[in-house]
Subunit: 295 residues, 2 copies
Amino acid sequence: MKEIKSDIFLGDCKEVLKTFDESCVDLIVTSPPYADRRRNTYGGIDPEKYVEWFIPISNELLRVLKSDGTFILNIKEKADEGERHTYVLELILALRKQGWFWTEEFIWHKKNCYPGKWPNRFRDSWERLLQFNKTRKFNMYQNEVMVPVGDWAKGRLKNLSAVDKIRDNAKNGSGFGKNVSNWLNREKAYPTNVLHLSTECNNKNHSAAFPYALPEWFIKLFTKEFDTVLDPFMGSGTTIQAAKDLKRNSIGIDIMPEYYGMVKRQTKEKELVLFESKVKYETRKIKKWNIAKKI
Amino acid sequence: MKEIKSDIFLGDCKEVLKTFDESCVDLIVTSPPYADRRRNTYGGIDPEKYVEWFIPISNELLRVLKSDGTFILNIKEKADEGERHTYVLELILALRKQGWFWTEEFIWHKKNCYPGKWPNRFRDSWERLLQFNKTRKFNMYQNEVMVPVGDWAKGRLKNLSAVDKIRDNAKNGSGFGKNVSNWLNREKAYPTNVLHLSTECNNKNHSAAFPYALPEWFIKLFTKEFDTVLDPFMGSGTTIQAAKDLKRNSIGIDIMPEYYGMVKRQTKEKELVLFESKVKYETRKIKKWNIAKKI
DNA sequence: GTTCCGCATGAATCGATAG
DNA sequence: ACTATCGATTCATGCGGAA
């Protein structure tokens, strides 16, 4: 039986990526630190310099990604002095110049977004999920993310069940279950480019950049088992966990020791549960640590 | 009592707009021809030349818009040779250079988007609603678009016929005058920047670029009664109708004689409906008007 | 006056074929 | 080689007529 690997690195992803072979990754899913002048916690990048900060990194991503692989970038510009900043638009244009194809822009609709009220705008309840590719031909396994006809939203099923209930009761009095199951068993439909996902506010660990379902969906869509998924801004490791659960190899990089340690610990706990072989794991861990330290 | 005016013009909006005074419009809501789309009706603009085609028009829009007014632009880039085209991104950057503030990007989630299946992408179910302003201080009446919490309201509003809407709005202008008392005790919330609306498919007349509810929402949000709404790419006149129903003055421009004639005709018909039913209507309405005033 | 069912249609996109 | 046209694929929704 094949084994699944999770390689976790501590360091600046731009530098860590340079140590990788080219064309070794099937999918990149990441949510880089957002531009923010005021905050310094996670290397808050000046919006004006965001593109020039990101382009050297995406240059390495371009190198390590396979030609039929995909790069998913989760990003959203903040409002700055009453305006939406334009660095994301400029980033898309810059990435195309760098050689990326801008295949698609998915919308992540955040159903229970952060509450708030401002005089000049409503709550921001969506983010961009930009899809980039190296060529026009890339792997896409659409059947893996098909949804029941009528959309995945609960509202659809709820509405139908209400209608079905009335109709069936009028007909024979016992057909309620039958009708609902008809809908559930109907052929599946392909989703659209709008994803309806709730933000996970009660995350046990830390505030995740995106909900588990998000990387999960893209991993299912763009990779198969034993492919390799990379998240160069790993954070709390949501992408890594989803990849592991779906039997994909994964590579995570983060510059923050807390995140590095946390994901290592999580990985270890999971593997202990699975294999109960502490010794083997320790040696592997030390090796990875050394690789990261070399940088 | 003040009167509401609808001025409909036939011609190229860039030229027609030049005849207007400056700062005479409170809100612009429009959906210009997308590049290469609707080639049968409009000329179809080369995507590469889209920005240079639009900028002279938006220059006039900048002139006629009041300093506290808003410009809402509905647009979406098409997929071209496996990629999303970048002309919309470039347009946003160009508009900012022209002096516009890019205040916000709303998402129109099209619940019933066009079906189809392709190897490299899913169905496109969203469009951009770009908000531009002349200054950071602009009129925004957030309370006018508050929505009741829960789905209860949806079915209620759907059942209002077009004539009901006209009558109600003509009378009290607060929108949805019918069963106003039912609304009073409902908990309301501010909406977000994601709008969930279906395209209107089975229209008897002509297909509208966007559903009635779309301009209606922005007109309520950014104007008050007797303000002036402009649609320089009027089409079948959805924006004009919504403005009239909400007691706003309106200006519509279109280069196609069919659309010009159609909107002129519709405007007349609506006025007749209102006039004929005036007596019956008055008695019924006075009560509701009072209820509305008490709120 | 309601509720329910049938059905036409929509700012789509790709790839093959034709000029 | 490069552009223009056409066929294949696919699904949620609201309208109109019927029960």
